[in-house]
Symmetry: D2
Subunit: 170 residues, 4 copies
């Protein structure tokens, strides 16, 4: 547990996942940082995969606004967490931890993304956790309407939508 400077806030907090790959474009990294900052400013707690790229940018953004960050790490060493993770959860279960991120969050914001991100989106949809996308995957079954991913134009809009949609009470 590093750098834990929790804000003085109290009461219920919404837990929002930021999901995205470890090799974002510069624009995606900027967007992820803005998402993290906006979540912290809104009093939400950020949960993510705890590693680099989109995850690190989002955590950095959250910490600049005094937020709390949780990293659900795939590996066996807490030192694989990026430097902006307050609470590293060391799962040791590899990418199967993506299901934990999706289940624990009350809403998810996807920024860009790799196949790992796609698996998190799929799990969130399976669990009924709302997903807001910023330049991320579109998924559609042949002969069916597209899956219910909300798409936002800006990081601030994505956070506002995610918080409005967040599933409360489990």
């Amino acid at each position: 547990m590093r750098r834990l400077r929790p804000p003085e806030a109290s009461g219920d907090r919404t837990l929002v996942a930021v999901i995205g790959g470890s090799a974002p474009t510069p624009e995606e990294a900027v967007a992820a940082e803005a998402v993290g900052r906006a979540l912290a400013e809104a009093g939400a707690v950020l949960i993510c995969g705890g590693r680099g790229g989109v995850m690190e940018a989002a955590c950095r953004g959250a910490k600049t606004a005094g937020g709390i960050t949780i990293g659900i790490l795939p590996g066996t060493d807490r030192r694989e967490a990026n430097p902006y993770v307050d609470i590293p959860i060391v799962t040791g279960i590899g990418v199967a931890r993506n299901a934990i991120i999706a289940r624990t969050a009350q809403a998810a914001v996807a920024v860009g993304g790799s196949y790992g991100t796609l698996s998190e989106i799929a799990f969130a949809l399976a669990f009924g956790v709302p997903v807001v996308g910023l330049g991320t995957w579109a998924v559609q079954r042949q002969g069916h309407p597209p899956a219910p991913i909300a798409y936002a134009a800006t990081p601030e809009e994505a956070v506002a939508q995610a918080l409005a949609l967040a599933r409360h009470g489990g």
Copy 2:
């Protein structure tokens, strides 16, 4: 371990996943059974989630052709396996077991499908395991080409493609 009547075959076997939801349409169930039968006829071993719907239809098809079937169950009780599973692996880890199905297979055939199926497709793509689709998900990142899922017109074609694409040796 029930009804294990392994064929007299010997030597290396290709392990192919059949993925799909527990509530298929009648057409999807027919297709899944044909996929299972074609896999067994080709000497492949079938791996799936071990439950009902597409999984049960595929296992039933494989057993009619004397194949071997492995069910990677999500729950804690081997009795949740469908009656055509030879080897029930009782994971107790819920849908996180989808990552195990995708990792263990050397190729995957997706029939129809739910969000759980989508998570398995995502994991297979992440792990470099070839995916062949029959009326299943199409996935695409905004501004990128579609993900490399091969689409087949018939169950037999799907199996032929999956076996041709199967990743050998890990």
Copy 3:
């Protein structure tokens, strides 16, 4: 995320697991609550399985002293957390989550305990995470010395030992 009233503390925090069963004796429940309180007073963050019994008593103790509590839940619903869990991590992987508790902690205090507790002790020993016991399991291989579990006489002594032994930096 409920009742999160983080203390104003800052800087590095040690993460200590409290492990024990869901059906403790009254004495074990009293001990667990004292362990939780002592951990919080020392500025450590408490991690546990998030449910009832020893876990709930320890979280309650930690909250009376203004501590932070993390619950690594086995099931799929955040509402299975006891009311003193600040950060419920909803794993959905059942008792396999015991490995996550043991890996994430920098030290563990075992109070009484069931076979689940024994699995957590085994994982902690496997990962090199120090274990301090209060009326818990003794384990020994035939023909070998007992496994290196430190036994304490009081909750306060257990916490002091755990913090002194805590493995830092991964």
Copy 4:
């Protein structure tokens, strides 16, 4: 899937785990091989962690008697299986896979063993799966009787006990 030469047997098969460390003594390796052989001769299917040491010796013994072997691998590559594994299940979830081995088996034989073995014994006890030990862990809660592990004097006796105790039907 390698070297799959399933016997011509049919009907229900008992699934028995052989658990033990990757660095056995020569005597433990000999015992593990004898356990594997005796299981195969009795028509049981062997399940294990799929790697070296006790696991490899047991699989080798089973294959010399024409048995079927399943390896529940911790890592992400099927090539980490020992050469006597017929069906490698590639979990990618690390030692959390120990819970899967314990759940899937209908009885377990522990040979020697490390802390990983101890975690498998703990899970088996938690799940009500009978455990027979050959020179393995003894576990006991302070002030309680020892945990119900059956100890055998020879590999053949261990297998006979395991098959007699095997929990059928989940």
